[in-house]
Amino acid sequence: MIDVNVSLSRWPFRRLVGDEPAELVSRLRRKGVTQAWAGSFDGLLHRDIAAVNTRLAADCRAHGPGFLVPFGTVNPKLPDWADDLRRCHEEHRMPGIRLHPNYHGYKLDEPVLRELLTMAAARKLLVQIALAMEDDRTQNPIMRVPPVDPAPLQSLARDIPNLKLILLNGNRIPGSRELAQTGKVYFDIAMVEAVAGVGRLASEVSPGRVVFGSHFPFYYLDSAILKTVEAALPEDQLKAVVEGNARALLESKG
């Protein structure tokens, strides 16, 4: 099982079971995860993103080489963000990056995002976009962060060659079928809701576009695992969702 959506370090408002890397790895392994793509909670608010990504890469090496796969943060609102992208690729050898448009204060139709995605695609980096991190009804009132509006993704996915987007923490994303049909967009299941919601998503976008993501340790890992049980997908589709699609994405980078 490959989990494309875990995070290291500290959630700003709560200690979490699994927010120490060794414990996170132990718990993932215990539940049958064989590889986890890790971002960093520090990437939400820290401005020294280069240090965040260096720590992320080091933690992934120290606590699970080949198991924890680092996805560095890039914030295009920071000066010289393009060098963070370069370092993720050239220095840390990361296969992809993770973006947090709502925490970093930009919309998906801003030109700087198009520029970032174009550069990432040219480097054959996978790009994860976290559409939310938390239900906005439960956020700390001093820091309210609305979810990302995904509407501009259609034109980005259509226009940028070789782009590979993985949308994290989405639920009932408008236009998801059309996004999937571009062949460039994948969807994780961490925030997918409703009875048998993963099965519905798979039928909307095709099982080949759905990947297992848990949002652990912010969410209980068992939530995503049990969703795959509830979905009752045929065995080949289940294997694609929990492992095959993510593996193929990583291998597509060569």
Binding site: M1, R14, R15, L16, V17, G18, R30, K31, G32, E134, D135, D136, R137, T138, Q139, N140, P141, R144, M191, V192, E193, A194, V195, A196, G197, V198, F216, P217, F218, Y219, Y220, L221, D222, S223, A224, I225, L226, K227, T228, V229, E230, A232, L238, K239, V242, E243
Partner: protein, 293 residues
């Protein structure tokens, strides 16, 4: 019959999970004797008759080894229902649960703004009918005096009392209760046990709010499966005051069960939360109605 169905369901779950997961769920499903009861289910907005909607829910519940569903409110959702709407929606639930008496319980949906009608509807559906609980939603806040006669009547029969609550960041709509509103009601009726729906959504606030009021129970349903919820509830309230619910079909059984199976709590606490506590709450009214389990 039910026992046989559950055995089949457990096998299905194990077969589905085998080969890629060693989850706590499959281990628990294989070993535990606890029956899962779901406190918080609705018929939902999908196409079909009430019976068809409930049948669809039960098919998925079988996959998740859930034995009983508590069902309330019909469709479409109405935040401030008039008497005729209440009656129609309660009839929808009566129709549906009537087809699955071994798998479901019904709670009557009431609106304290229509007090006499609500008391009559309670009599029709609970005192004289098959329902076993009361659902209060967002028409009026729980601290309103209009709720008192409903609570007295439900308490006298031992019916389960479920009040929706949220502590929404940014504020609640006028009729939507917070756990603090429910505390005021609970203080006026200290001998009546009530359930704090959603534990206020913002569970760190909800748990603290109801902590000192021993006649209040925490419903785990209908919020994101945020890590730490169940551990804090067990630590601060005791496992005896925590009850599993899902809020299907808007939520999935899985995301909400994930809270209970993912929590670092004892097996005994997990069994209490998944069914034993709810059975304890219901025991008086089930006994009064001659319903044996």
């Amino acid at each position: 019959m039910l026992s046989a169905m559950m055995t089949v369901s457990r096998r299905n779950v194990l077969r589905t999970a085998a080969g890629w997961s060693t989850s706590a769920f499959s281990a628990w499903a294989a070993e535990s004797k606890t029956s899962i009861w779901d406190l918080h289910c609705h018929l939902g907005a999908s196409a079909g008759t009430p019976t068809e909607k409930l049948a669809a829910l039960i098919r998925v519940a079988d996959r998740m080894v859930i034995e009983r569903l508590c069902v309330y409110m019909g469709f479409p959702f109405d935040t401030d229902p008039a008497p005729e709407t209440l009656r129609a929606q309660n009839n929808q639930v009566l129709e549906a649960i009537g087809r699955f008496p071994q798998r479901t319980f019904g709670f009557v949906y009431l609106n304290p703004k229509h007090l006499q009608f609500s008391l009559d509807e309670f009599n029709r559906c609970v005192r004289d009918g098959p329902m076993v609980g009361v659902k209060l939603w967002v028409a009026q806040r729980a601290n309103a005096p209009a709720l008192d006669p409903i609570i007295e009547r439900a308490g006298a029969l031992g019916a389960v009392i479920f009040q929706h609550t949220w502590f929404k960041t940014g504020g609640n709509p006028p009729g939507e209760s917070t756990p603090a509103d429910l505390v005021q009601l609970a203080q006026r009726h200290p001998s009546v046990r009530m359930i704090c729906g959603h534990t206020g959504g913002n569970w760190e606030l909800g748990i603290r709010t109801i902590r000192a009021h021993k006649n209040l129970y925490a419903d785990t349903a209908g919020s994101d499966p945020t890590s730490g919820f169940v551990e804090m509830a067990v630590r601060e309230l005791g496992a005896e005051r925590v009850i599993y619910g899902s809020d299907v079909p808007g939520r999935s059984f899985a995301s909400q069960l994930g809270k209970i199976f993912g929590a670092d709590i004892s097996a005994a606490a997990r069994s209490l939360i998944l069914g034993e506590n709810l059975r304890g709450l219901m025991r008086p009214i089930l006994k009064a109605k001659g319903i044996s389990l």
